[in-house]
Symmetry: C2
């Protein structure tokens, strides 16, 4: 898999190795990003545009069925290329379609949100939902390339950028002290500063995936902050103004850091520093749900089984440990302590 | 991937590495094979049975959707095992379901037809149809094991066995002279004799796939006899008594052998011997369709493009060559010559 900018995309297309080119977008990226892509890139073959509705509902079996037919009806063959232009929904969905059409055609990911740039577009995970069950159906398949362009960040609301930024912090915490320090010196409202962090952040993920592509061991470190973060995200999905993925992960990372003192051997001083730094970016993110409800959702997660909840914790910064079993009492206490601690900040 | 008998299945299950076990069958194999499997094998966990209707129509997106839900509703998780018990339809469909459920769970193929034993169950190709388009959606994914048991052959009509036998002959022709000679000394009505050929036949396929898993080059040799064979199969599908896959492949191999004299450098004497031997098993298989119609279907095949038809031919026995472009005139002449030749036999 190659990582590069629009120049890389242009040179790949110029090699002319594909029989036809398709671009998958949603209405948003069709309006905000497609025309700019078409202006920047000289396509040797006129691409066909496939458009789905924005939002998680498009990651469905029904939409996949329609897209497979669309590719077929538009004459796609084994040598066709699918370019996925959009956020994580588009890169997940398009990756799944490409990896299964005629047993797999080439695809290129052009993530247009910070979250998709740092997380969804690399690592070879593709997926669609089964009803409300996220990514229940999917494959492991690497794209030919992931194309990054800072210009897309200009299309995003600042809250979206702050949300994606949490995944960069996560990569710093689990594997790269230098990246972590750079994060905490970053002004998240400055797109250029944030964009500079992307390459080292993606390298963390790429390194982990190279060691453990199918999530047997080290890859689970990438779930740091996600155990409780995902549960919080699910519970606020129906709210009028739901929390964003990265906001929930930020809160989940603070909880996991606090749990790491008693259950991972992380020094209290380091934990407190880390929580203080994360909190400075997300002071407003507080779960307004009952802890019992959060726990119930965590128990149902496909990564857990038999009434126990497994966390990724830290023995130190850059030293994650997986499969640490946490009880409800421990979790409940950590939630209370975190709240008290943040009120004092 | 492991290849073995029911003993292997028993010892794999005894390792107890799966959280739950599912068996996919169709109505036929549920009646004819499942109870015998349940009697022979001591399952450490009671398996859940998933049943679909027999026939190609079950290899659909709709049935896949139902099966994904069934797995989910029955509590399948990443450590579950899916055992596919049936002919090629079941092994293709079940392989696809397993390779995409939660991004891939373990599966074991238990092919119950000779065709599935020799062809469909090994090689990592999984697939479902898109409408009438065969295997348009699928993945490359190896099963944990392929389990062979001669007892299943007793459940098959003799015509089915003769059909599957064509794929064994094909493996002999493209890669194994000893196997080929053994084929032509085999009484196809003797199940034990036929079963003996399976292991060397599967080795041919396994060797080729090891060299070229994703069908970039050598794997296309396995299409010997299939270019025109598939077209014939499609055209007779709507007949009251359609030709079987292997019967069409047998005819396709005779055509490809004849074409190999002029276009592959195969010596005429060897070609005639080969055709005579194949014909002795399939003297009744004659295409009752117009050659022009066959050609049209061949042009539409996903392996061809731009009005040309690519054949796998032979420069000698065990020396296949791929991507040999054949014109309609050459094909038409070969059909006529083959017919004249077989009338004289």
């Amino acid at each position: 898999m190659q990582l590069g900018d629009l120049q890389l995309l242009q040179s790949l297309l110029a090699e002319n190795r594909w029989s036809s080119v398709f671009i998958l977008t949603d209405e948003n990226t069709n309006q905000l990003c497609l025309s700019s892509l078409m202006m920047c890139i000289d396509f040797p073959i006129n691409p066909e545009i496939l458009e789905v509705e924005p939002g998680e509902n498009s990651k469905s079996v029904e939409i996949s069925h329609q897209l497979w037919w669309a590719l077929n009806d538009l004459g796609a063959d084994r040598k066709s290329l699918l370019i996925n232009l959009g956020g994580g929904m588009i890169t997940d969905l398009g990756g799944f379609i490409a990896s299964t059409f005629q047993r797999g055609i080439d695809f290129i990911q052009i993530p247009t949100t910070l979250l998709a740039m740092t997380d969804a577009a690399i690592g070879g995970k593709t997926g669609i939902n089964l009803g409300q069950l996220k990514n229940q159906i999917g494959t492991f398949q690497n794209p030919v390339a992931v194309i990054l362009d800072q210009a897309w960040l200009e299309t995003l609301p600042s809250r979206e950028i702050r949300s994606g930024f949490a995944e960069i912090i996560k990569h710093g915490i689990i594997a790269d002290q230098t990246l972590l320090e750079a994060c905490f010196n970053t002004d998240v409202s400055n797109q250029e500063e944030v964009f500079q962090l992307l390459e080292p952040s993606m390298k963390v993920k790429a390194n982990i995936i190279e060691i453990d592509p199918f999530e047997q061991n080290e890859r689970t470190f990438l779930n740091f902050g996600h155990t409780s973060g995902h549960a919080l995200e699910s519970l606020t999905l129906q709210d009028e103004d739901p929390l964003l993925h990265g906001e929930c992960v930020a809160w989940g990372m603070m909880i996991a850091t606090l749990l790491s003192i008693d259950c991972g051997g992380l020094k209290a001083e380091k934990a407190n520093d880390l929580i203080r730094s994360i909190d400075s970016y997300y002071p407003d993110i507080q779960p307004e749900v009952e802890i019992e409800k959060l726990w119930e959702v965590m128990l149902r997660d496909k990564k857990n089984s038999k009434g126990k909840v497994n966390f990724v914790l830290l023995s130190d910064v850059s030293k994650p440990m997986n499969n640490v079993e946490i009880s409800f009492e421990q979790f409940n206490k950590a939630c209370a302590n975190l709240q008290a601690m943040r009120e004092e900040l």
